[in-house]
């Protein structure tokens, strides 16, 4: 029996990049034994994201309120849980995560049997490397992750991830609202799930805006630190 893979595409005003991303997803071929479905989560976009996705025959989960990236991704995870998917892969609608790299995540999971695979920019240092400040923050999170979970995660802010059934079940119950990536790693580690990173190529975004603007980065770091600390302390 083939295994079901859900591609979760959280979108907030991504009408320029979404058609390209969906087209690319349409062209990729998964290894034998995998079936793929893509779902676009429209986080209450003010542009035409919803209709564009519908026109391209993609399932759309249309949120009535803007929940932020965490709430949007969790909607997709709940969909995966409800529809009995074996794997869920988050792929941002802005085009930073090349769909061609999905296979790498799946193969890494198949080969190692871990619960979460993170597509990382920093293992091979290929492709888009992000700004200096952002990398500084990422180093800081690397340290925090080592302290809180004992895991050596280089790219803990990467949203390009694969979750298996166990991880889906955990994330459907608890997933942070804003800036969820580093904090969710603590939640997963606490649940006893195994995490692995694989090197992928990322691109600069094709369109739209980052959810983290410059002035917000300090707030981001503080919020995530508190979030990670308390996720660590919590039972």
């Amino acid at each position: 029996m083939s295994q079901k893979v859900l591609i979760i595409i959280p979108c907030y005003n991504e009408e320029t990049s979404l058609p390209l991303v969906l087209k690319e997803i349409g062209t990729i071929k998964l290894p034998n034994g995998f079936m793929m479905e893509a779902v676009v989560i429209n986080d209450c976009s003010t542009d035409d994201t919803k209709n564009i996705a519908r026109k391209l025959y993609t399932t759309v989960l249309d949120l009535p309120m803007n929940l932020g990236i965490g709430g949007a991704v969790q909607t997709g995870i709940k969909y995966a849980l409800a529809n009995n998917f074996d794997f869920a892969i988050q792929l941002d609608g802005d085009g930073q995560h090349p769909p061609a790299e999905i296979e790498k995540l799946l193969l890494a999971q198949q080969n190692t049997g871990v619960d979460i695979v993170i597509g990382s920019r920093f293992i091979d240092k290929q492709g888009f490397q992000s700004s200096f400040l952002r990398r500084l923050g990422i180093n800081y999170f690397y340290l925090l992750n080592r302290i809180f979970t004992g895991n050596y995660i280089f790219d803990s802010t990467s949203g390009f991830r694969l979750l298996n059934r166990k991880a889906i079940a955990v994330a459907a119950v608890r997933y942070p609202d804003d800036y969820p990536e580093p904090e969710s790693l603590v939640i997963f580690a606490k649940a006893g799930l195994k995490i692995k990173e694989v090197a992928v190529n990322m691109r600069s975004r094709l369109g739209g805006k980052s959810s983290i603007q410059h002035g917000a980065s300090l707030f981001y770091i503080i919020k995530v630190t508190i979030g990670m600390l308390f996720s660590f302390i919590r039972n």
Partner: protein, 125 residues
């Protein structure tokens, strides 16, 4: 009875009446009203018992009785603000879950309606 005592007592009564009205009309939930009722009760007690403030200040070792009023009320207000933050966080959580549930239900409904359409077309042909 001093004039200020009368004024505060009347204000207290008006305040309690207003809170009761809000509760009766369903605009204020009882659990949030408790703290307001308690506060007014404290005010009423001290309106009648004029020496009370001095006695309490002595008891806590505060030299200037008005300082006790400020300290006590600022503390109470802080606690209440914290309580409100907890309430807001809970509401936010509920809203998130509801939104997600609505999105998932909408998708199921869409799918059903589309399938229905497809079926009808087949019948028409």
């Amino acid at each position: 009875m001093a004039r200020i005592q009368l004024i505060t007592i009347i204000l207290d009564i008006l305040f309690i009446a207003y809170i009761s009205r809000l509760i009766i009309k369903g605009k204020l939930r009882e659990e949030y009203a408790i703290i307001w009722c308690l506060c007014t009760l404290v005010l009423v007690v001290f309106s009648f018992w004029r020496k009370g403030l001095g006695v309490m200040a002595n008891l806590f070792g505060v030299f200037e009785p008005p300082n006790l009023v400020f300290t006590a009320f600022i503390f109470a207000i802080l606690i209440y603000l914290l309580h409100l933050s907890v309430v807001v966080s809970k509401l936010q959580n509920n809203i998130r879950n509801l939104s997600q549930e609505i999105a998932l239900l909408k998708e199921r409904l869409d799918k059903k309606e589309n399938n229905g359409d497809a079926g009808n077309k087949k019948n028409a042909n």
